[in-house]
């Protein structure tokens, strides 16, 4: 489903963020990407929605090489991905409802159907009934939930999250981690970068560890997740 083949990324000035990385993520997997700051986690995730392009190698999404995707085709790729970034990147002059509605406006969904989907997405992240509130009035964890609702409202098959718990206190971070686990259990492929892989350990995810732009560990879970086994 997601394939990295010898992917390298060098920035102007000679800095190498990724140095020949290869791995494959199968449909329905939960993958936690960890490593120190500057290991290349964010760069790797940015290559999937073509926020960045690789300097060498190929990135394939559902068999399609997106490394050389024409600029005009990129929006259509992104519509099939759910993106959650480190900062929530909400629009603070719009209500929670309008923020979550934005992807559906972009894809031109009929307003009635779009409103139902927004309601369902807000309910899924535990913010039902709070659509009229403005983001500034929400806590950091709630803002990140709004961003997650916005990412799932288009019902993507792949969810990519770059440090979604970075600025949250432990309780909120655990809630967010649980949300991603529940999406994965619903069949969504989830790829998350985090400093704190232990947040997701209960989900028994596949772990990819990056160091200095290289993949140094790829550990797949064995047996059923602890919660399910219980």
């Amino acid at each position: 489903m997601i394939v990295f083949e010898g992917v390298a990324k060098r920035y102007a000035g000679g800095y190498t963020a990724l140095a020949g990385i290869s791995f494959e993520v199968r449909h329905g997997e939960l993958v936690v990407l960890s490593g120190h700051s500057g290991a290349g986690k964010s760069t790797l995730l940015k290559l999937i929605p073509v926020i960045e392009r690789p300097s060498a190698g190929r990135v394939l999404i559902n068999g399609q090489d997106v490394s050389h995707l024409p600029r005009t085709a990129i929006p259509y790729l992104r519509r099939n991905l759910g993106l959650v970034l480190q900062e929530s990147r909400l629009l603070f002059d719009r209500s929670v409802f309008d923020n979550v509605m934005l992807p559906l406006v972009i894809t031109g969904h009929p307003p009635g159907d779009a409103a139902r989907r927004v309601g369902a997405a807000l309910e899924r992240v535990g913010l039902d009934g709070r659509g009229k509130e403005m983001p500034a009035g929400l806590s950091g964890g709630e803002q990140q939930r709004v961003a997650i609702a916005r990412a799932i409202v288009n019902r993507p098959s792949i969810l990519i999250a770059d440090e979604p718990t970075a600025h949250l206190d432990p309780a909120y971070a655990a809630d967010i981690a649980e949300l991603f686990r529940s999406f994965n259990q619903a069949g969504v492929t989830v790829l998350i970068s985090t400093h704190d892989a232990s947040l997701f350990s209960a989900s028994r995810p596949r772990r990819l560890v990056l160091a200095k732009g290289q993949l140094v560990e790829d550990s797949r879970p064995t047996g059923r997740p602890a919660m399910e086994a219980a």
């Binding site: 929006p75 970034l85 934005l102």
Partner: protein, 298 residues
Amino acid sequence: MIHWLYLHLRAIAHALRRLAAQPLSTLLSALVVGIALSLPGGGYLLLDNVSSLARGVSGAPEISLFLDMDAGPEDRAAIEQGLKATPDLGSYRFVARDEALRQLEASGLGDVLGGLSANPLPDAFVLSLREEDPELFERMAEQMAAWPKVAHVQLDSAWVKRLHALLGLGRSAVLMLAGLLGFALVIVTFNTIRLQILTQRQEIAVSRLLGATDPFIRRPFYWFGGLQGALGGLVALGTVSLGVRALSAPVTALAETYGAVFVLSGPDWRAALAIVAFAALLGWLGAAISVRRHLAGA
């Protein structure tokens, strides 16, 4: 098609919200655009009015054939025969010297002749030709000037030609003014859209991440520019209409002092539509240039 219309309707709603969110800025921009466009708009309207007047008097350019003071009925009959034999002649009428005097008195210039003991005006024939060809007029005038008992031939079309030349010059000047001020309008919109792009940088970036295409992002800015231009066009229309209303009475009074009937008319619906559409088009153009220039870096 329905999807395309839906996206445009959303873009219009978005642009209207942006205009309504900054009422003072919107009003000032509309005033700048409107005042700038009211100058060429008013100039064009004035020229249009004068053109109508010129068309009215130049509908049948004429040649006046003044006879010698001692020309008798036989001489007039001979000249009339000559006129009948002229193939390009459309029509003619005889104006007796007494009738000419009465017309002059009626026009308010009777006082000029008050001190004279006798009528100084000659008999005359007023001719019109089948074709309004200035060269034909001049050729005929030369030919008739050689006829016996013809004292003077006057081409009444000469001043009309001069008026038309002046109107042509005026039109060129108005076009140049419209071009210059239209360019200014494009610059105003260009700058407004640049500021809009700067203030919406975050929204643009987020929309792109969520899969917005370039047309989706550009559309509200195009509509913003077009609507701002149209608002300016409405202000220009209002300014011109108010100007016409204010000047109408003094102009009519001035025309009456020359014995003429002239009513200054305001823009009709076609002219009104043209002004608003032209302003909207310029706004759209300014937005398009600005979006092309600034959105790539947003």
